[in-house]
Amino acid sequence: MDFALDQKSVQRLKLLRGLGKELFRPLGMEADKKGEPIPPDHPFFQQIVDMGLVSPLGPDPEKKKSEPSEKRSNRMAVLFAEEASYWDRGVAVTMPGPGLGGPPINKMGTPAQRERFMSVFKDKKPHWGAFAMTEPSAGSDVAGIKTLARRDGNSWVLNGAKTFISNAKRAEWVIVFATIDPKLGRAGHRAFVVEKDTPGFDVTRVERKMGLKAYESCSFVLEDCRIPADNLLGGEAYYEKKAGFKGAMSAFNASRALVAVMAIGVGRAAWDHARQFVRDNYDLGRPIPRYRRILERLATVKRGLDAGRALAWRGAWLLDIGEPNALEASMAKQFCPPAALAACSTAVEVLADAGVRNDELVEKLYRDVKAMDIVEGTQQIQRTIIARRLVGLPQET
C-alpha cells in the first residue's frame, strides 16, 4: 500500500502546474468571459504539442497493451486530469489528442486501425479525436442509441444524430456508436470511425452551455454518411463476440474515473480559492460569527474531495493492473461530482456577495462543475450500476 507519488510523477505534475497557472487558468477565464471556445488555431495548442503534453491516454504503439508505461498509465492519467482540471477543466478538454476517442481505438481497434487513426497525432501539430455516443434522445441510456448503420458493399452507411460531443467540429475523426438493428439491443451496437470532411457528416451547431465555455460541445448529423468498411472499429470479428456494447462500456470504465477526478480538480480549485479568500479577508483580529462555520465547512469539503480522489485513484489503479473496475469506476463517478459541486457552492457562499461576480473564479467553477455530474453517465445511472453489482438490482429497474 503506497499513496505516495514517485519523483517523476511529481516532476510531471509540477510542469503541468506551471502550464496551468500560466495558460490554462487565464485562457479558461477569457473563454468564459467571451462565451466562446478557444479556436483550434490558437498558439496555445501548438505549444502543448511542442511540449509533448498531448493527451496522457494517447497511443504508444511501441508498448504492448498489457504493459502500459508509467507515463501513459491510467494512474498518471488521473493525476494529470485532476491537475489540468484544477486550472481549467474546459481547457483540459480542449487539449489536442484523441481525447475520449483514445480508449476505444486502443481497446477495440485492430493494430492496423490503431496505426491508421493514431498516426495523425505524430506530426507535431495539434489534432483532435472525438467520441460520440450521446444522442438527442439517448444520454445515460446508451443502449437506446438510434443512429443506424447499414452495410452496403464495401461501405457502411450511417444515419442519425449525435449531441453534446466534445471537440467534434475540430476532430480528425469521431468514434461514432451506432446500431445495425435496434431490435438486437446491445448486440446490434457497432463503433465506427468517421473521418473529418466525410460527406454526410455535418456539425450542425456548437451548443450554448452554462459553463465550460473553453471547449466546443457539438451536435452533428449523419445523413447517408458513407464510410469504408475498414472503419468498423475492431473489424467484423470483434462483434461476433457481441462485444460492441462491451467495448463502449470498457471505454467508459476508463473515462469515468477520469471524469470523476476532473470534478475533484475543479472542487479543489474552489476550495483553495475560498481558503485563500478567508486568509486574505477574514483575519480582522477579532472573531466574526461565521468564522467557526466556515472552518467546519471547509474541512467537510476537503474530506469529500480527498475521499473522492481516493475512489478515482482506485478505479485507475485497477485498470492498470488489468482487473475489472466497472463497479469502482461508477463509485468514483457517483461520489466525486456531488462532492465537487458542494465544494464550489460552499466557496461561493464563503465569498459572500463577491461570490456571485463573474470576475471571481468560484462563480465560474460553480457553473463549470455541474456538467461533471452529467457527462459519462449521471449519478443516477451510476447508482443503478452500483446497485446492480452490489445487490443484484434487476437490469430493467
Binding site: 468571459k33 450521446t134 434522445s137 439517448a138 444520454g139 445515460s140 441510456d141 443502449a143 437506446g144 449531441t163 453534446f164 451548443e207 450554448r208 452551455k209 452554462m210 459553463g211 481558503r275 478567508v278 486568509r279 477574514y282 483575519d283 480582522l284 477579532r286 472573531p287 466574526i288 460569527p289 461565521r290 468564522y291 467557526r292 462555520r293 466556515i294 472552518l295 471547509l298 459541486l341 457552492s345 461561493v348 457562499e349 459572500a352 456577495d353 463577491a354 461570490g355 456571485v356 461576480r357 463573474n358 470576475d359 462563480e363 460553480y366 457553473r367 455541474k370 456538467a371 455530474d373 452529467i374 457527462v375 449521471t378 449519478q379 443516477q380 447508482r383 443503478t384 430493467e396 429497474t397
Partner: protein, 362 residues
C-alpha cells in the same frame, strides 16, 4: 385553532401574479438576461398591475398589502423571472427599513421616492463591519448589488439604518445570474442623509428582507421542479419515462416535500411578521428553508434534464444560477444561521463570539 386556507383575495393575488409571470415574465426571461434589462413594455405592465406597490401604504397609492400577500405574489412572479421582479419592484426592499424604522421622516422619504417612476432602492446589511461609518459619512466598497442604478441605498448596521442618497458609485459587473436586475460593485463615500435607530425596527427590517428573498427563492425552486417534472414525464429512457424510474421518482418526491415545507415556513414567517412578537426566528428559518430548497431544486433541475439541462436551450440552468445568487442576499445562509442560532440558543449577540480568531491557522 390554526387555519391554513387562503382567502379569495389571496387566490386572486396568486392567480393574477402567476398568470403575468407565465405569460409575460417567463417568455421574456432569456431576452431580459441577454439585454441586462427588462423590456419597457413589461415594466409598464408590471406597474399597471400595481405589483411594484403592493406593500406601499394606500396613502401613497399602494395596496397596503401585508407581508403574507407580498410573499404569495413574489413566489409566483419569481417563477417567471426573479430578475425582472428586482428590476421592476421600484424602491423594492428599501421600503422595509424606511417603514419599520423611519417613522415620519421615513414615510416622507418614501413618498418622495415613490413620486419618481423609475426609482430604485436597495439595502446592504453590513453585519461584518466592512463599511466605515463616521458621524456623518459612510465609506467603503461593497462587492455586489443587483442594480446598476440606485436612488436610495440603506445600510443596515446593528440597530441603525443609514440612508444614503448620493456618493454611491455603481460600477457594472457581470453576475452569476439576475442580469436583468442590473449588477454592480459599489464604491461608497457618502454623506448620511438620514439615520434611523430602532432595535425592534431593525429586527423587523431584516426579517422582511429575508422573507422577500425567501419568497423569490421558493418561486425559483418551484418553477424548476415543475419544469423538470414535465420533462421527465415525457422523456423516455430504458423503455419508460424518466420520471417512472424509482431513483428519479423518489428524488422528485423529496424535492416536492421540501418545496411544500419551505412554502409553509415562509407563510409562518409572514404570519409572524403580522403579529406583535419578534419575527426574527421564523424569518431566518424561512430563508434557510427556501435557500436550501432552491439550491437543491436548482441543481437537481439541471440534473433531471441530464445534458439538456446544462444547455441554455432550457431554463433550468438559469434557475440553478438564480438560486445560487438569491441565496447570497443579505448575508445569505450564514447570516440567517447566526440569527437563528442566537434565537434558538437564547444567546444575546452572536454565538460565534466565544470562538477565537483562527484566520491564519487553517
Amino acid at each position: 385553532m390554526f387555519e391554513l386556507s387562503l382567502t379569495e383575495e389571496d387566490d386572486l393575488l396568486r392567480k393574477t401574479s402567476g398568470d403575468f409571470a407565465e405569460s409575460r415574465l417567463g417568455p421574456a426571461a432569456r431576452d431580459s438576461e441577454g439585454n441586462r434589462e427588462v423590456a419597457a413594455a413589461i415594466v409598464s405592465e408590471y406597474r399597471e398591475l400595481g405589483m411594484h406597490a403592493l406593500e406601499l401604504p394606500e396613502s401613497l397609492g399602494g395596496s397596503g398589502l401585508p407581508p403574507f400577500g407580498k410573499a404569495l405574489v413574489l413566489e409566483q412572479l419569481a417563477g417567471g423571472d426573479a430578475a425582472a421582479v428586482l428590476a421592476c419592484d421600484g424602491v423594492g426592499p428599501a421600503i422595509y427599513p424606511l417603514v419599520e424604522m423611519g417613522g415620519v421622516r421615513g414615510a416622507s422619504l418614501l413618498e418622495e421616492l415613490v413620486g419618481k417612476a423609475d426609482a430604485r432602492g436597495w439595502v446592504i446589511v453590513d453585519r461584518e463591519d466592512a463599511l466605515e461609518v463616521t458621524a456623518d459619512r459612510v465609506r467603503g466598497r461593497w462587492p455586489w448589488v443587483p442594480a446598476e442604478k440606485l436612488d436610495v441605498l440603506v445600510v443596515l448596521k446593528g440597530n441603525r439604518a443609514l440612508v444614503l442618497r448620493e456618493g454611491v458609485e455603481l460600477e457594472p459587473v457581470k453576475p452569476c445570474a439576475l442580469h436583468a436586475a442590473g449588477s454592480a460593485a459599489v464604491a461608497i463615500d457618502a454623506p448620511i442623509a438620514e439615520t434611523f435607530e430602532s432595535a425592534s425596527g431593525a429586527a423587523r427590517s431584516e426579517a422582511r428582507l429575508r422573507l422577500y428573498a425567501a419568497s423569490l427563492l421558493l418561486g425559483v425552486a418551484a418553477t424548476s421542479l415543475r419544469y423538470a417534472i414535465e420533462y421527465t414525464k415525457e422523456r423516455v429512457t430504458f423503455g419508460r419515462p424518466v420520471a417512472h424510474h424509482q431513483g428519479v421518482a423518489f428524488l422528485i418526491a423529496d424535492l416536492a416535500c421540501r418545496i411544500d415545507a419551505a412554502r409553509l415556513s415562509i407563510w409562518r414567517a409572514a404570519w409572524a411578521l403580522e403579529q406583535d412578537g419578534d419575527p426574527t426566528e421564523a424569518a431566518a428559518a424561512a430563508f434557510l428553508d427556501a435557500a436550501d430548497t432552491a439550491l437543491e431544486c436548482g441543481e437537481q433541475g439541471v440534473q433531471l434534464l441530464g445534458g439538456h439541462g446544462y444547455m441554455q436551450d432550457h431554463p433550468v440552468e438559469k434557475w440553478m444560477r438564480e438560486a445560487r445568487t438569491l441565496a447570497q442576499l443579505w448575508g445569505g445562509r450564514d447570516a440567517a444561521l447566526d440569527v437563528l442560532a442566537d434565537r434558538v440558543l437564547e444567546t444575546s449577540g452572536h454565538v460565534g463570539f466565544a470562538v477565537p480568531s483562527w484566520g491564519k491557522q487553517i
